[in-house]
Chain length 360, copies 4
């Protein structure tokens, strides 16, 4: 019942505060004999790393991951051994001075007030445990998850920045990795750049919608009733910092459709069952249908902004706060690889859970 663990058979536990000595993760339940080195994980961490472009905060974290256990080299190849894989990233860049004001005052939209109210104490340096820095370890766990389900491709993209949605008819998967927004639509870039630049100038921020698609998912992952893929994806995504909503397939849009429009019809094609649409987002009754799994989620605007805001301090006096230091104008951009990682973890876990009960 750990509050800091995710998953059931493929299970990971994260620990660490933003400005403590290190952050880390213990991944348990990984099958043995999977090739795994730090490079396999660093690859995805670099994707998430803040400071890699002008639209994410310039904190200069190398975020170098080290594997401390659970692997063994046999004939020059490093394999997982089936024992827990411990990973660590030492915190190097800790300008905690930047955050001094936040020790005494509660930042609007942040968890400063709720942490202190609940625990009676909190580590305020860089947001402590509540910082999005924790998500680095999700990305690390997700890198291992991907190796358990190597045939499944998981890819995220930003489909809305503030109030600016992409033109879905112009979706180009190849373009996603070629721009700093993970945007699949080239025609949106100019407007998005303008928006971000203007927010930076104002000292303000905006939200984003991310869509993660998993391809080549076999039929049969997930389980009724409380082990539904929808339920576990919902839990996984809503656990990411700043996420306020999640939907599967056509999501909230399904509400306005008629049943005759929404239910995906079926036909045989080349001797295989196919669906004629994918409103369900690849999940029926909590179980994967073999179609692409489509998850979309809303990230609220960054709460740490330069604009002055009303708040109270620890001594319960009215005051104002202005957040200094490095902050993303849109934290949602960095949530793309995190969303991918969480989807990977859910699918890897369900792959093993399905193998347990069904045997294949």
């Amino acid at each position: 019942m750990s509050h800091n663990s995710f998953g059931h058979i493929f299970k990971f536990t994260t620990w660490g505060e933003s400005h403590g000595k290190a952050i880390g993760c213990v991944v348990d339940g990984t099958p043995p004999m999977i090739e795994l080195t730090e490079k396999d994980i660093q690859l995805w961490l670099d994707k998430r790393r803040p400071g890699q472009n002008q639209y994410t905060s310039p904190r200069n974290e190398p975020d170098t991951v080290e594997i401390l256990s659970g692997v063994y080299i046999e004939e020059k190849v490093q394999y997982t051994t089936g024992t827990p894989i411990s990973m660590i990233i030492y915190n190097k860049d800790q300008k905690s001075g930047d955050y001094d004001d936040t020790k005494e005052k509660f930042r609007p939209g942040h968890a400063d007030y709720t942490y202190l109210s609940k625990y009676g104490i909190r580590d305020p340096r860089g947001g402590g445990r509540q910082s999005a820095r924790e998500t680095a370890m999700r990305v690390a766990a997700g890198a291992i998850a991907r190796k358990i389900i190597p045939k499944i491709e998981i890819k995220g993209a930003l489909v809305q920045l503030g109030d600016l949605k992409i033109d879905r008819s112009k979706w180009d998967n190849n373009f996603i990795d070629e721009n700093p927004f993970w945007c699949p639509d080239k025609s949106s870039i100019k407007n998005w750049e303008d928006k971000i630049n203007s927010l930076v100038a104002e000292g303000d921020s905006c939200g984003a919608v991310i869509e993660v698609v998993a391809k080549n998912v076999p039929v049969g992952l997930g389980a009724p009733i409380y082990g539904k893929l929808d339920s576990d994806l919902g839990s996984a995504i809503m656990s990411i910092n700043a996420v306020k909503g999640v939907e599967i397939g056509n999501g909230f849009e399904a509400v306005s459709l008629k049943g005759s429009e929404n239910g995906d019809e079926m036909r045989m094609k080349n001797d295989k069952p196919v669906f004629l649409s994918n409103n369900s987002g690849g999940i029926l009754g909590g179980i994967s249908s073999g179609q692409d799994i489509v998850v979309r989620f809303a990230v609220k605007p960054t709460s740490s902004i330069k604009k002055e805001r009303k708040t109270i301090d620890k001594s319960q006096n009215d005051t104002e706060i202005t957040t200094k230091g490095r902050h993303d104008p849109c934290v949602g951009i960095r949530a793309v690889p995190v969303g991918e990682a969480m989807v990977a973890c859910v699918l890897a876990d369900h792959f093993l859970r399905n193998r347990a009960q069904i045997g294949s």
Copy 2:
């Protein structure tokens, strides 16, 4: 890691198929010395019961719940004893003849295909385990959950039927229980009635958006990181049949706001900290802030409809299907008490989890 259990300390396990002998639920972790009789549970079950008005299917299920264990009468008052509370509802009205066609064919939008693909077998009578009938036991568990957190008020309402949204400025809590839609806006009723009547005439269906609000929630429930209230509410709500999306507070709408608009500012008022808005929906960093918790979710249109649809059968032949029998034109209406129950279960569980770690 049970697929059929929900919760951690307050934990319930449901069982049963739509047209089997009975459905049931075992609730574990309830504190002792809580007054509890069947009446406390029946009250909420009656609210969910299909057939109670013309807009839900006329299946005549009395749905009489019986408590089989976990209570004891002392000086004429029946109390919980701290041992598991087993509840059962016998299935009486089982016109399984109505569903004969669905034994061989997969209904679009239903889990027929995924269940059979995963398990190699399925109980097709009335949808078997995949039927929304299971949600009756969630309502039963929710009734007990409410007694653990008696000060918290949890109330759901339908805020959108198909494409028809309520006028939120006309929200009247008292009106919710006075109409068959759990609609808080009197001015929406006429249009909604017309919509439902026209769907029934067409043999079609529509979706709905439900909003559940929990009042008087103390500060401090929920826990970082994977025990966030958001995460557990996301999981709870997405496990309900036909739900395709969930959001907390202003949810997807937050994306289009600026950080300076979205973060809820604070002020002292009568010596107490207050928030000047509730965009966060009462949760910050996964922990309740003391504001109202606001959860909204999308229910897709009923998949069992009279309109003919393309599908395949178990022998992999193309065919068409028309669902006969009793079905709701909008299954979302009945999801209102189910959503309330799941929110109650999450909050009761977190109340106990918080007491474990924090001690009060």
Copy 3:
């Protein structure tokens, strides 16, 4: 984290009090397409049933189990469907009058005092939840567990009654089912009968040691560190009422051996690795070695006896108590099928857990 559930992937939850309406069990995680009827379960329940011979208490419980969910008949064969299997036994013989004295007084050796101290309330009728009646549902769950691992043979025997140990050189597996003690040694029977008869005459009781052996266990079940077979067997056995000790292989006897005597040596035989002894009881490092798994456990003497004993009552007055009603002179006899069932449940769970991580 349910206190009333056992197992992880193969998981069961029991409920019910000795003299309530019924007792029951929900078994989750069973693979689909396993043939299963009530007969498969009743078989083992009958073995446990009290009153079947003069050495267990004459309570006339038919203990007829009914399956309420999780199975479906296809082409005249009833199969598991992969959904939860709910089982129920209605309580018919409820002479609660026999126990009246125990409502007010705490029986020495019983949990009357601790239940009331913990919960502030308890169902005293027949011991309520603390009664060994609960173990019937373990036997029912064990019957399903056996069907998941059909090649593994699990057999229990009584190897010590009070201070009378069997002569292990005379062990005859076939004799176990032919006598009311589950004794494998014909030469012990006469002395055991005399002992029991004399205890009955005195209104007293004695303990027993039970040994359960599992044959044909494949290499590789169990997992380090906290998922060791030893650990889960220890937990399973120690959860049985009245059990005070458990050991694997040569157990406490190993202490007096030298390392050179205790470690089981290996040799190749017919191209297969064999062990030259089985001091380890078939488990090395928490993982099955392919040898027979041997578990032994101590059951204390029945606490409900006719002899007068000193105690206090609920109002904290000194008093004496004499337990009336039906009680076994040696509750350990009835623990044999319960021990077998728990071993079956542990092995079935680990079979599925191993399949999850390892894939075969």
Copy 4:
């Protein structure tokens, strides 16, 4: 369902191999505002440390623990914050050359064969994950557990070394910490020294029985049915390397007693309920009775010995093995602080579990 985690609310996860970079532990669920520094943990680690006397192996591990997260200094005092506490011990002394022979051959009594059979790979350096080195992290977790239940005193002692039992009438608690065996009986020391010296001379080993007593345990910890204190202690103790048996109270001895001798009678004394004996070992029906909790367990003789033994190698050839390197003649001596730690963890977890359900 992690194989490498223990506990429910107070939950710890260990990782690391004997000769890898480090070993570590993540402790989750600790209440906030508990004073905690490395010193509080090092204290107990030093007690367990091998090489501290001539009767445990001379491996020179400083075993210096470092806390990486979960604490924060406020006004010069370091407190727990309620977030996960990550602890690490770097492996410094790694003479893996000593173990070379064991890479190819399976040591009798060790898990070499079962690990390789299960996982297809294993880290053979110093026993890898199967090494007793892992138990250092249990001791670290136990140190934190003790701080959650500060009033409960937990103390272990060696009560049997090989075939030499202590004279219980000479039990002296103060003497336990004054001798290298944790022996409570001064009169046993000379014989034990002789035994160990002679085993060292032979290159052989022996087993031990350890008794752990917990004093000042409140009434009401533990829970029926599968959350019994007995069950969780059984699981905890049997998860320790080389443990082959566990018993509570008079354990296996209870079998030979009559019910009238075994059940602990009660009387009022100074207006408080007292028991007139403690055969139950402080637990009735799985719930603590307020008496001392008494747990005893058997540790088998060290399997790594210098005497030549028959075995096979990875290529399935018959061969002989002689274990070189540093090894304890009686690994049971070092198990004393480990047993204490596991009892502390079980009690701390149940203290929090009880507070969750009961509220005090």
